[in-house]
């Protein structure tokens, strides 16, 4: 579902800074899109695109932190690199806490910028990959029968087949068959992998029964 090339979105109210950054990114092979204001960006940006946002902290309409919040609210995972003319510590801490990848002070050198952009794009791509994997796992989970799901939750709590059979009021052999089915449907070769997949899909273990 992700588009192939990552895009760097640059938001700054200063036209010459925008132009310069676009050229610099271009010179390093990055694809970039520029926006003169936060509003314009929020209205126009490609929500499916992977990449990152380079955001000027001081904007007439939104300040950088407000925009970060707006993006999060829209469910965007685009990492943000803040640019500022005068980085004060309080603002940068706040920005980093809210998930900024980096906080760069103008004027920024190409190495610092590219490093930050690389990191951000990688993080974005990682995020997208993880999201895809989760989606696949969820699809696999969807193929499980209710009984198999039940067995899965019991398995996740680390019970033995015998115990599970006792809990579900059936025989150990039946549990074994279910277990093999679950492993097969979830495409988990080891039990450890199954546990990891289940976690990604947000399936919780059945709490151990009180004896």
């Amino acid at each position: 579902m992700t588009s192939g090339t990552p895009v760097v979105f640059v938001v700054d109210d200063d036209a010459s800074v925008l132009k310069g950054l676009k050229r610099l990114l271009c010179s390093a092979g990055f694809t970039s899109e520029t926006f003169a204001s936060a509003t314009e960006f929020l209205d126009r940006y490609d929500q499916n695109a992977a990449g990152c946002v380079i955001l000027d902290l001081a904007m007439p309409d939104f300040d950088g932190l407000q925009m970060q919040k707006a993006l999060t609210e829209r469910g965007s995972v685009l990492p943000i690199i803040f640019l500022t003319g005068h980085g004060d510590i309080a603002t940068s801490v706040q920005a980093m806490k809210a998930g900024a990848v980096d906080f760069l002070t103008k004027p920024v050198t190409d190495e610092a910028l590219f490093a930050a952009v690389h990191t951000a794009i990688q993080r974005c791509q990682a995020l997208y990959r993880a999201r895809e994997e989760t989606a696949i796992i969820r699809c696999r989970v969807a193929t499980l029968t209710p009984r198999e799901r039940e067995v899965l939750t019991h398995l996740l709590s680390g019970k033995l087949n015998k115990q599970i059979a006792a809990d579900l009021g059936t025989v150990e052999h039946t549990i074994k068959v279910h277990r093999a089915r679950v492993m097969q449907k979830m495409q988990a070769r080891t039990f450890a992998a199954l546990v990891r997949f289940a976690e990604r899909a947000g399936i919780a273990a059945t709490p151990p029964a009180e004896s």
Partner: protein, 618 residues
């Protein structure tokens, strides 16, 4: 030998006459123009001499002695007649000259004939003497003899003299004033009566009709007394006049001294210049101001005191039609510098008053040496500039983040463009057009950064106020640029409403920027945590005879009682303010001849700064 009463009386009359005469001789000595007094003196001595002659006639023992005494008696008579003519002429100031000359001529002729014909003018020969008894057993000699026909000459002379005196008296009488009339009646009358009486008596005596001695001395004494009375009046009047003159002179001198004291004690330097441009009066202050002595200044041309660098303008001014004394000094009035003797130029405050006396016009120049005043003004201006500078630095300190942004933006542009270019150039297929564009952008950004730094440097620079014609709108633009980022950080919306083509204001760009900067910052601070959508509105507009900048906010306004107080030093409404900003702003605007005040606009405060255009001409 004892004197009889006749001798005593005649001697007394002679003495009295002489005494009066000497008094008036003294008067004449004092006032040589009083010829009447001199004439009177001659009359009195002649009367005294005549009285002696008359006495010897009365006491003559032989006809020959009588004839001789009578002959010699004609000398004083002639002198008396001539003196009367002179007296009337000088004292009355009237009478026909030809009558005077004729009378004098006949009198001389009488004297001549007196000595050349017969025994004297009256007798061919005195043959005998008769003795007529007088009172007290004394007898006076009376001549008997053949009268001379030449006597007619004497009588004509007498008639001419009478005619002259009558004519002079009438003329005087006609002048009408009481003194003249009295004089004409008294002197003229007594002379005329006496001469007519004497002549008549002489005719009778000498004709032998009356046997009596010739007793003329008392009559002469009457004339002398009348004249003396008149002359005394004149002397008294003269004395009164002199006393009056003296009083008025004392008054004059007193007022002159007062005037001098005033002129010399006024704090200002005073010059009085006539319409030829010459200094006619100075005071010690003027001498001190210009460094010249009184005698060096009085009589010199006033151009001496005007610095050369505008003397040319001054002279051309003088050559114009209206080159009167006032115009001659106008250049000083404009330039307000005076030239000291040592060549230095003294700043002066100058007031001119034209004055007109009966026969001349002057210009009174009052100069005040304002060197000290100027120095104080300069010191005050320096202090003001220093405080303004400190306040500017403080303001810029508050704005530092915003200013860093202003500089970093173009630097960012430059750096990214330059590094992009380096990368493009490192490629095999170099797009030179792209690189050219990049370089152009770098130049632009560089200029932009340079502008910001220039503005900052100007604001941070410590310097004197330098006024020049300014476009108020450009001041606003500069301030908007400087504060833009700060306002963004504070989320303040700034709007401007600039009237185009405003007349320029004569002022210092930096100082006015500072004022506006302060006003904008104050507006922002007033709205901090007070309003949700803070707004600042800057407006420039024309007013009646001036230009106005106003800065309005929505910060709730200022309590009416504080509208004026906020401009006082150390008064602040801010938590951390020191309360100098607005006071410095006002000082600056005052130095521009403008006005700075605050008003409430309903939702907040509006601070207005007005400049009147008439001030720029200076």
């Amino acid at each position: 030998m004892s004197m009889n009463w006749v001798e005593i009386i005649w001697t007394m009359m002679a003495t009295a006459s002489l005494t009066l005469g000497f008094v008036h001789l003294l008067v004449w000595f004092e006032q040589r123009s009083r010829y009447a007094s001199l004439a009177f003196f001659v009359i009195t001595t002649s009367v005294a001499a005549f009285s002696a002659s008359e006495l010897s006639m009365m006491e003559a023992q032989t006809p020959a002695a009588y004839a001789s005494a009578l002959r010699w008696a004609h000398v004083p008579i002639c002198m008396i007649a001539l003196s009367i003519i002179a007296f009337v002429h000088f004292h009355f100031g009237s009478g026909r000259r030809w009558l005077a000359y004729a009378a004098a001529a006949f009198r001389f002729l009488t004297l001549f004939l007196n000595f050349t014909t017969g025994e004297n003018i009256n007798f061919e020969e005195v043959t005998a003497l008769e003795h007529v008894p007088l009172w007290g057993g004394i007898a006076a000699a009376v001549p008997v003899g053949s009268p001379s026909l030449w006597q007619i000459v004497t009588q004509i002379g007498n008639l001419l003299l009478v005619a002259f005196v009558v004519d002079a008296s009438i003329t005087l009488w006609r002048r009408g004033d009481p003194v003249a009339r009295r004089r004409a009646a008294l002197v003229g009358g007594s002379i005329v009566l006496f001469i007519i009486g004497v002549t008549g008596l002489a005719v009778f005596i000498l004709a032998g009709a009356v046997r009596a001695p010739t007793v003329l001395t008392p009559g002469f004494l009457v004339i002398v007394l009348a004249m003396a009375y008149e002359l005394s009046w004149e002397v008294i009047a003269a004395a009164q006049l002199a006393a009056k003159l003296h009083t008025s002179e004392i008054n004059l001198r007193a007022s002159e001294e007062q005037f001098r004291a005033v002129v010399e004690s006024v704090p200002n330097a005073i010059l009085l210049v006539d319409d030829a441009g010459k200094v006619t009066l100075t005071n010690p202050q003027a001498q001190a101001l210009f460094g010249y002595g009184r005698e060096e200044l009085v009589g010199r041309q006033v151009e001496l005191l005007i610095p050369e660098w505008y003397r040319y303008a001054h002279e051309s001014h003088c050559q114009s039609d209206a080159a009167d004394a006032r115009a001659r000094l106008m250049t000083i009035a404009r330039e307000r510098y005076a030239l000291h003797k040592d060549g230095s130029q003294v700043p002066v405050k100058l007031v001119l008053r034209s004055m007109r006396t009966v026969d001349a016009s002057f210009v009174l120049v009052s100069l005040e040496d304002v060197t000290e005043q100027r120095q104080n003004e300069r010191t005050a201006a320096r202090q003001r500039d220093e405080i303004a500078h400190l306040s500017r630095v403080a303001t810029l300190g508050e704005l530092s983040g915003s200013l860093a942004h202003e500089i970093n933006q173009p630097l960012m542009g430059i750096l990214s463009n330059a590094q992009a270019a380096q990368r493009f150039l490192a490629r095999d297929d170099v797009n030179l057009d792209e690189v050219r564009e990049i370089l152009a952008d770098i130049v632009e950004d560089n200029k932009r950064a340079g502008e910001v730094i220039k503005r900052l440097r100007a604001l941070l620079k410590k310097g004197e106020m330098q006024k020049r014609p300014l476009d108020i709108n450009s001041v606003v633009d500069d301030v908007v640029r400087l504060t833009r980022n700060d306002l963004v950080n504070r989320s303040v919306a700034l709007s401007t409403e600039l009237t185009p083509d405003l007349p320029s204001v004569f002022g210092d760009q930096i100082h006015l920027q500072q004022v506006l900067l302060n006003l904008v910052m104050n507006a922002c601070e007033a709205m901090e945590s007070v309003v949700k959508t803070p707004q600042v509105h800057i407006r420039t507009r024309r007013t009646d005879g001036g230009v106005e900048i106003s800065v309005a906010d929505l910060g709730g306004g200022i309590p009416p009682g504080d509208l004026e107080r906020i401009f006082a030093p150390f008064v602040t409404t801010k938590e951390h303010g020191i309360g100098l900003g607005l006071s410095i702003c006002r000082t600056i605007i005052d130095a521009h001849g403008g006005r700075l005040w605050a008003e409430n606009n309903g939702e907040g405060a509006t601070v207005r700064c007005a400049f009147s255009l008439s001030d720029h001409a200076e």
